[in-house]
């Protein structure tokens, strides 16, 4: 369980990091190391050059405005503990509570989570739920990638080899929205078998104006349930509407693996979606109207 040899580089600036990424053969970025170092130790992954971006200036931080921008190297722990973010967008902290453990959140970053792209990663789910834009840079210039275009295959992000994620912008629902993030995992802190995130925003008449639902762990990337979302808009999210949305969740395609069968994943998706929508409705400021 020892990594094979590699050279180590520690750029201080973005420009240096991007130069290295472009010129070094067989290079990978090192963020929190909570996935990459484990893979190097197990020799699932090999690199000739490791570019450690932990000391690159200006890659960490949370900026709140109409949208929310989080720097790639912001630690999961610092996102979880941000009071301003918790107030504006509580679902992010709720999801992060399921991500690994104290130790892995102390080191792990949002950029690394998106770079790794585990199908069940909660932050990948949150990015999908909140219509994230991923900000990417290379020596060729900056580029924005919509989250819908980001997954290119199993654990394969839509990035070129010379590109680095520098930040993520999340589009939060209107203030007062209800939310819920639920997951089923074998142990606390394990990757989810299935996780569900949802937000519900109501208009002044008590009708759903904006519904979002994402399922994690079903396929190679988190899945937005556009059909169920559309069904909920205009309703009061009464139990019948929630049941109909959950029924849609329960008939999505799902993978089978050592953790769970396709059938079981579908079952979880239906049950968790119903519970999450019910909880989100109760939390919304207009959800209790009527």
């Amino acid at each position: 369980m020892k990594a094979a040899r590699f050279d180590y580089h520690r750029p201080a600036t973005r420009a240096e990091a991007l130069d290295m990424l472009q010129t070094l053969e067989g290079a990978k970025l090192l963020a929190g190391g909570q996935s990459l170092v484990a893979m190097l130790n197990m020799r699932y992954a090999f690199v000739d050059h490791l570019i450690d971006i932990n000391r690159v200036e200006g890659l960490a931080g949370i900026a709140l405005g109409d949208t929310i921008r989080i720097g790639a190297m912001t630690r999961q722990r610092d996102i979880l503990e941000s009071p301003a973010l918790k107030a504006r967008l509580p679902i992010v902290a709720a999801a992060l509570n399921f991500v690994g453990h104290l130790h892995t959140r102390n080191r792990g970053t949002i950029g690394g989570s998106l770079g790794h792209m585990d199908p069940a990663a909660e932050l990948f789910g949150i990015a999908t739920l909140l219509d994230a834009t991923i900000h990417v840079e290379s020596r060729r210039g900056p580029r924005d990638v919509a989250i819908a275009d980001y997954p290119q295959g199993y654990m394969t992000p839509g990035l070129d080899p010379d590109e680095m994620i520098v930040g993520v912008t999340l589009a939060p629902p209107a203030a007062g929205h209800g939310w819920s993030f639920l997951e089923f995992a074998q142990r606390h802190g394990d990757f989810a078998v299935v996780a569900v995130g949802t937000t519900l925003a109501f208009d002044s008449a008590g009708k759903v104006a904006d519904a979002r639902i994402v399922l994690c762990g079903m396929g190679i990337a988190p899945l937005r349930l556009a059909e169920a979302e559309a069904l909920l808009v205009g309703t009061t999210a009464e139990p019948e509407a929630i049941a109909a949305a959950a029924e849609i969740a329960g008939r999505q395609e799902a993978m089978s693996d050592a953790l769970a069968s396709e059938t079981y994943r579908r079952h979880l998706a239906g049950v968790l979606t119903r519970r999450a929508l019910t909880e989100a409705r109760a939390r919304a400021s207009h959800g209790k109207v009527q």
Partner: protein, 163 residues
């Protein structure tokens, strides 16, 4: 594949060493500094036996490279006690039989140091959830939780006295 020179303070003592980039922090502590209190179970981040504090935060010693600790302050289990004087958490571990084989103990202790500092009045439920990141195959956790509950106010008092 050249070695890199690092300076790191471990349990208050500064060290300067040459390390191979692939050497993780736990191996560095054990092999280069002879601090074998930090244990290695899985070496891929799952068991928590290798947990140490880096600048006050608990990390997996097997998932951080020693070169990344350049300039940092590291605390290992050896740094928790004074000569002849266990810290209150260690005392409580002894009192409540919170260890049997002791393999997980250094990781439990270092993890609890951060947890109890941030949650001076912890709930049992919170502790059980958080300690899911540290595997113990002997005790069933009951003694560990009791010890942590007892130590929390004592550690707080100790911090306040030191301040």
């Amino acid at each position: 594949m050249s070695a890199v020179s690092i300076r790191v303070t471990v349990n208050g003592t500064p060290f300067e060493r040459e390390v191979e980039p692939r050497t993780h922090l736990a191996d560095f502590l054990r092999h280069d500094l002879g601090l074998t209190g930090t244990h290695l179970g899985c070496e891929h981040g799952v068991c928590g036996a290798c947990s140490v504090l880096v600048d006050g935060r608990a990390v997996r010693g097997c998932l951080m490279l020693a070169v990344q600790a350049d300039g940092a302050e590291v605390t290992t289990v050896e740094g928790l006690a004074q000569v002849e004087q266990l810290n209150p958490l260690q005392e409580a571990f002894r009192e409540f039989h919170a260890l049997q084989c002791g393999f997980c103990t250094p990781g439990m202790l270092t993890t609890l140091m951060q947890l109890l500092e941030e949650h001076p009045e912890p709930s049992e439920e919170m502790l059980r959830e958080e300690l899911s990141g540290n595997l113990c195959r002997c005790t069933g956790y009951a003694g560990i939780i009791r010890a942590a509950m007892k130590a929390a106010p004592l550690l707080k008092a100790q911090r306040e006295n030191a301040a």
